[in-house]
Symmetry: C2
Subunit: 234 residues, 2 copies
DNA sequence: ACTTTAAATGTACGTTGTACATTTATTTTT
DNA sequence: AAAAATAAATGTACAACGTACATTTAAAGT
């Protein structure tokens, strides 16, 4: 009964529908969030997630991708709906619900100029400022879902560059789970999944010896799923 | 930037916001869904989830509970947001997004008369009729989430009567996971969690010998969580 | 007394998680 | 040229857990 046509006796009122983006990145072993300084009144100068109203002729997901592109310049980014925030008084102005969507981006790929234009800043996840409205709640919920999803789906890889080392991957998981992992067990576990492809290059930024680079092999991942075995890290 | 006040240059258009309820129940070893026959045109007579527009002065969750109460008579029911469906053309009438929420109810508790008034019917999960709009998709997604959630949270218990037998609990999990479980291993596993309280009564509906009734002990469940151990079934 | 039904119980084995210390490759310093 | 410093890479033993599997038991019906 959700469709509106002909529901003559139902209370039928329109409201504003917004979407807000929780943009995660990973850099220097830290999980980060892209936050924006509001340029318009009210709450001008306050920190906020980036968002927009959803247009009448626009799919919800399309609206999320549009917001992301406008603010970071990025397309083809991993994005997923989190949930919808719909307390009647969540926005002190008109009634407005917001569909929160979170994105995982490779920080090195993003358009720095564009981001600066928007008054944006990367904050470490545990040094976030106070955000407007229920945006801190959204981030909190997104972190929880990221934790749950990263365990059984290879979404962590969306946050790393295409080529990455195993210690980098471990640092990412440590940042997501907020606990230390044993390097020997971690390596054994991820390699046992057979979804990493070892390259002949090394990354020397982390140590004198250097660590071998790997890339995620999507075909092998599909094989893993089809074989019935679980992808499960940490 | 989701709030509308003062966003002078943003496109700002209102739309309809509905909520649809995916109502699960469990009876005779089968997982079931409560489906409604539409009483109004268009699509009159078609099967549909039950839903409503969200009112301007109404929280999203409140709208879901209202719909549930109006259609089943039940209050204090487990209910959880699934996700929001927002394709621009999902509803052939006006632009309308729908926040899907799913509920788990004890079939024996619900108000049968009220349900009949609404032209409602319980369908077994794998004998669902064609539903209007994207409602079959919603059910599909809800089933997936139910599977995932039931594994780590004791939401399965919301579908059983307060007192239940271990074979009943096993049948529920078998229905959710759509596979058979070994009775010995299942019993061992659930009892090891220490969240079931054995009663002195038996249920004789299932066999001549009868099976002992248990109830879920919420305090023990909290202890389990705090002790850091995982609730994990099947 | 015998049959029928589903409930209840235990064990052995394989797999996986976990704890833990040393060696290696390379650069930088002396 | 040698030594020091750094993080990467590797293996093993034990505990915990999942899994496969067959028999006995309580009660009702004949």
């Amino acid at each position: 009964m959700s469709e509106n046509l002909g529901d003559l006796y139902q209370v039928k009122e329109k409201m504003y529908v917004a979407t807000d983006c929780i943009i995660f990145g990973f850099q220097n072993g830290k999980l980060k969030l892209l936050v924006f300084k509001r340029k318009v009144s009210p709450l001008e100068g306050e920190w906020s997630l980036i968002g927009s109203f959803v247009r009448l002729d626009e799919d919800l997901e399309v609206a999320g991708k549009r917001v992301l592109k406008e603010s970071t310049g990025l397309e083809n980014v991993y994005m997923q709906q989190l949930r919808t925030y719909g307390k009647k008084d969540r926005d002190p102005g008109y009634r407005c619900i917001s569909v929160a969507q979170y994105a995982l981006i490779r920080i090195n790929e993003y358009d720095e100029e564009l981001v600066e234009e928007h008054g944006a800043k990367w904050f470490e996840i545990d040094q976030l400022p106070l955000l407007i409205l229920d945006h801190n709640q959204m981030v909190h919920d997104a972190l929880l879902q990221l934790k749950q999803n990263a365990r059984y789906r290879p979404i962590g890889f969306e946050l790393l560059p295409e080529k990455f080392t195993i210690p980098q991957l471990q640092a990412l998981y440590e940042a997501i789970y907020r606990r230390e992992l044993d390097p020997r067990n971690f390596r054994k576990k991820v390699l046992s999944l057979n979804v990493l492809e070892k390259l002949d290059e090394k990354d020397r930024s982390g140590s004198k010896r250097g660590a071998f680079l790997y890339k995620f092999n999507n075909d092998n991942y599909r094989d893993l799923l089809e074989s019935g075995y679980n992808f499960e890290i940490a």
